[in-house]
Symmetry: C2
Amino acid sequence: MTAAPTRALARAAVSTAILDSARRHLAESGPAALSLRAVARDIGMASSAVYRYFPSRDRLLERLIADAHDAMSAAAEAAETAVPRDDLPGRWTAVLTAVHGWARAHPHEYALVYGTPVPGYRPPDMTMDDAGRVGLLIVRILQDAARAGRLHLDALRAATAEAPPSDHLRHELDMLTAEVLGAAEAAENPVPPEAVAAAVAAWTHLFGTVNFSVFGQYDSLFCDSDAYVAFSARQFAALLGLT
Amino acid sequence: MTAAPTRALARAAVSTAILDSARRHLAESGPAALSLRAVARDIGMASSAVYRYFPSRDRLLERLIADAHDAMSAAAEAAETAVPRDDLPGRWTAVLTAVHGWARAHPHEYALVYGTPVPGYRPPDMTMDDAGRVGLLIVRILQDAARAGRLHLDALRAATAEAPPSDHLRHELDMLTAEVLGAAEAAENPVPPEAVAAAVAAWTHLFGTVNFSVFGQYDSLFCDSDAYVAFSARQFAALLGLT
DNA sequence: CGATTGTCGAGAGCGGTGCTCTGTTTTTCG
DNA sequence: CGAAAAACAGAGCACCGCTCTCGACAATCG
């Protein structure tokens, strides 16, 4: 048929077969049940042969984690870019509901990404723009809001009155602004550190809510936790003064 | 010495020895490394003998989870009762810093309680007053604040203007008030559902923050994440209008 | 007090796991 | 075509959770 090296094609095919089987086992039975021998059995290979493709079970798991992270971030980004740029509350709720929906659809994969880190965890470098892509979305939304004056900056600063953030913390928050916006833009059009802190808080709040929802912490309170999550998103935005 | 049945004493001693060893292994190497054979080796018993005390590894783990939950809740309660009842922001930050401190001191045990639930998870009934003891503290603080008018109720209600919570959700929030305050007190001195929703949000925010801090999600942002956590606690209280 | 009963601990063993090593087969390339 | 390289299968090691059996001890009863 083709003069192309059949070996490389076969390798790619087997590799994806392994990943597919692993993802299936992961989704069905959780990470503890993901065993190299089981996937080898699944795809009709000797367990030792799988090691030609992934040097260890943990490496395979890491690959699944990275893929899951990508998928979740992509879902969030797709949802966020679909709403008009100046609808700030809409962008916020879009991110939250996208992450929440993805997490409910893939609870085990979500747990791998934002649940308890796996023992030998090593998110490559966890800079804000590869690992924390949804964090990036949130920060951008709040930066846009702060620069447009569509945030309760006075309320956010209220905590500052009696106990201001340390100079070091302010500096780190400014660094985050510079990283996201670019140094030049950040210098020309600064974002108050309180707003950046609020963005981190919003990011935290988002995953805290999704965690509690996916891991069943709301089940004893609400029979329809989705309703609470949706309302909570609006209430949090209102609290920030996001308009 | 004592005429008491020596057998029961020995049993209790062995039981606590098993739990201590298990807790040690858990703290050092995480839940995946907790093996019955290892603790048996540790305390000089045959692995099969351990089954006289705990019918399975998962049961032992559940016991450790329950104990950890108790310890964490106790730490939070002790810290909260130590501050004057009318210092509402102080009570809030006390709970948060207590939980945060405990979690940093016992990260693996914290992960068992509020991280990814273990595969065969079964928090007994997860009613608000046994499993969610720190949630109870938070709800009480916000209820006290709402009834004393020391909350930005208008801001909390802002989300309601355009998209009010469903009747069902309001009812569930009122149920929570009744459960915490008692039906009579709740009927006589009602708490607006928006305030209860804010309490749930605060509870969520607390554990979201502690999760991100303990699981290293802030490490790429702040070199001293404790400073952010402390500031974030004050900022969130200011946002709620907690005075 | 002596015999019975019940608990405890040890050991062997089953099926499972991750991972390594040794050969054998198959593909690729000089 | 023949040599080098890659892919695969199987056996094997150490470890795991868990079960079963069997001897030793304490607790209880006649």
